[in-house]
Amino acid sequence: MNKVLRRQKLTKKYSSRFLIYLILFLFVFIFAFPFYYVFVLSSLDDSEIFTSPPRLFFGTHILENWRILFEQINFGRNFLNSVGIATLSTLFTIFFCTLGGYAFAKYSFKGKKILFTFVLTTLAIPPFLNIIPFFRMMVAFGWYNTWLPLIVPGVANAFGIFLMTQFIGRAVPDEMLEAARIDGFGELGILFRIVFPLAAPGISVLGTITFIGSWNNFLGALILLPKIERTTIPVALSSLRSQSGGGFGAIYIGTALALLPLIIVFLSFSKKIINDFARGSIKG
């Protein structure tokens, strides 16, 4: 009797576990398939890309697509440009938005509410309304055809400040800041030794969003970096598209290569986010 009960229990346990794994596998498949498929498409000829049913396995044109990609654009240079702009943009955005978020979350000063509301209001302005004045300002500053317009204006952006304000408000206890001040920490010391470490999960979220946003910024690079050798991957890849629509194979192999840094950044940041949140939940 006991044996039967035990077996039933085990069967139930393994069936529910199987179900959980099946659901997880389905989710992994749904999220991972597009990445796999980009790599598959990068190995196909233009005429093979649009077939019905679609080709699900690797083709034989990867070297040809690779050749077109590296022959027609300076992919390595454009790749480094993207890495440089996205990395600098992410580092500065993290620093300045954390600074702003800390000020709004933990300092009391005159006009704080009005200033914070003003910062939030800027989020409601449709992006296309900004494009022309933004472009004119960048030209007036002498930043046209440099990396600066793609880095500097975004380093203290409204979304980042709002995110870090919310995060620091909850993650950094006032008592700890008071204790640090009593212990003789200066304001910058508090910022670097207490606020930044405690805000790490928020920084991970902001860093991931900023890096991906900067990496994918097509319009900004298109308008502000006219020289092909200074521009970024998305713009360089768009120049591969022929007038009559071809050039897909080379574009896909470029896209596949351009995805790699995003995957690396996402995997490293996401691990950090999950770890910190998990630690936070245990502590809480």
């Binding site: 077939t51 296309f128 092909i228 007038q243 009559s244």
Partner: protein, 424 residues
């Protein structure tokens, strides 16, 4: 993009700077902003012996993007009044937008005197670059005479003779043939072959050579009404006859349909032949070319070169010399034609032996003679400042008739009302 267009239209007209005369003894670096594979073709031209001999003092640099990206970039820069490339390429459909924003130099004025070379180009293309006020705002370099691409074996298997498909009398005859071309080829009870990809493909063709002609001489939109209502009736009849596959242009199934036999034909510009043979259906051997129904002459697309008002005035005259070479030199026009199948706007090259040659991909057919014949028969229509808005509203009316089954008169009246409201 739509938002930026609104800003462009709302921008004050930019004044042209004082243009410095071209000095053959001065070194120039001219920048060309283009899209797609124009850079590939123009690079061959500027590296040719002819160009180097004519302009040893000119170096060319390119800024290339995809079709939408290029026009988006240009719209933003012109709207901001900042310096563009010395030469900017425009697809014909975008000329009106920039005329509306006042962003292009008048090439008929000195020192360009563009009207001295326009008689060498196909009249309809020059007309498409000329405003109703007589300003020449762009120079046509390639054109896209519209033809009916069809698959010979598919047509024959559907019981339609080649003689019939090559001599379609009118749109009623086209629909009649389309019914034969639309069928269930595998006997499973479901239609799997249609005459054309989408009913809207026919919407512009009957309207002033595909250019629309949105305003009459008194600036009244969509007149004569019978012509515009006739176009709506045509797309409605095509859809009601069930002879279109309802495939959106450039979608995966649309591209696939030209290989797998899902469509028997396509009404489109000559450039499509290049796309068919290079990447859409290089392995298909039975694509052929015929005139459109009733031998109607229309154009679908075309590349124009412009000198924006905000381009560098010190280099504008030198940039114009480059445009003249690209548009009016037979050598240049033939190089571009060979490289990317962009059909020449220069009439002189229609007599070149290469135009008489059969094209292997089309079974040795002399397709270029058909293109040349169509190109020289397309009606002339000037560009008006509100064309881009009118074209966009008209596209919506076509969509209402096809997809929402809106009554023809209702769709026409609504479109007219919207155009009048938008220009007021």
């Amino acid at each position: 993009m739509g938002g930026i267009m609104v800003l462009l239209i709302g921008c004050p007209r930019q004044e042209q700077g004082e243009v410095a005369p071209y000095d053959p003894d001065q070194e120039y670096t001219i920048t060309i902003g283009g899209y797609g594979d124009l850079e590939r073709a123009y690079s061959v031209v500027v590296n040719s012996a002819g160009f180097k001999a004519a302009f040893p003092n000119i170096t060319i640099e390119f800024q290339t993007s995809d079709f939408n990206g290029h026009h988006q970039r240009l719209t933003t820069i012109i709207a901001a009044g900042e310096e563009t490339n010395d030469i900017e390429a425009l697809e014909v459909g975008f000329i009106a937008l920039f005329v509306e924003g006042g962003g292009l130099r008048d090439l008929s004025l000195s020192p360009f005197n563009g009207n001295e070379i326009t008689p060498q180009l196909v009249p309809f293309a020059v007309s498409n670059a000329t405003t109703t006020e007589g300003q020449l705002v762009a120079m046509p370099v390639d054109i896209a005479p519209a033809v009916f691409f069809y698959r010979e074996e598919v047509v024959k298997a559907s019981g339609v003779s080649i003689e019939e498909i090559e001599n379609i009398r009118d749109w009623n005859h086209f629909i009649e043939i389309g019914r034969k071309l639309t069928r269930d080829t595998d006997g499973d009870g479901e239609i799997d072959q249609w005459a054309i990809p989408h009913a809207s493909d026919a919407s512009l063709i009957p309207l002033n050579g595909g250019k629309g002609g949105w305003f009459d001489s008194n600036n009244n939109p969509l007149e004569p009404a019978e012509a515009f209502k006739g176009s709506l009736e045509l797309v409605q009849e095509i859809r009601n006859a069930g002879i279109d596959a309802d495939l959106g242009a450039w979608s995966g199934p649309w591209i696939e349909s030209f290989k797998n036999g899902a469509v028997a034909g396509n009404m489109i510009g000559a450039w499509f032949g290049g796309a068919l043979k290079t990447w859409i259906a290089p392995e298909v051997t039975d694509w052929r070319v015929a005139y459109l129904p009733g031998k109607v002459a229309a154009s679908v697309g075309g590349t124009y070169l412009t000198l924006p008002n905000s381009s560098n005035s010190q280099r504008a005259a030198a940039a114009w010399e480059v445009i003249k070479y690209l548009a009016a030199s037979p050598e240049s026009q033939l190089i571009v034609f060979r490289e990317i199948d962009a059909y020449p706007a220069l009439i002189e090259v229609y007599e070149d032996p290469v135009m008489q040659e059969g094209v292997d991909y089309f079974g040795g057919q002399q397709t270029r003679l058909i293109y040349a014949d169509v190109a020289q028969s397309i009606p002339e229509k000037t560009v008006t400042p509100h064309d881009s808005i009118a074209a966009s509203i008209w596209g919506n009316a076509v969509s209402l008739v096809i997809n929402e089954e809106t009554n023809i008169n209702e769709a026409y009246d609504l479109a007219k009302e919207q155009i009048l409201a938008s220009i007021e």
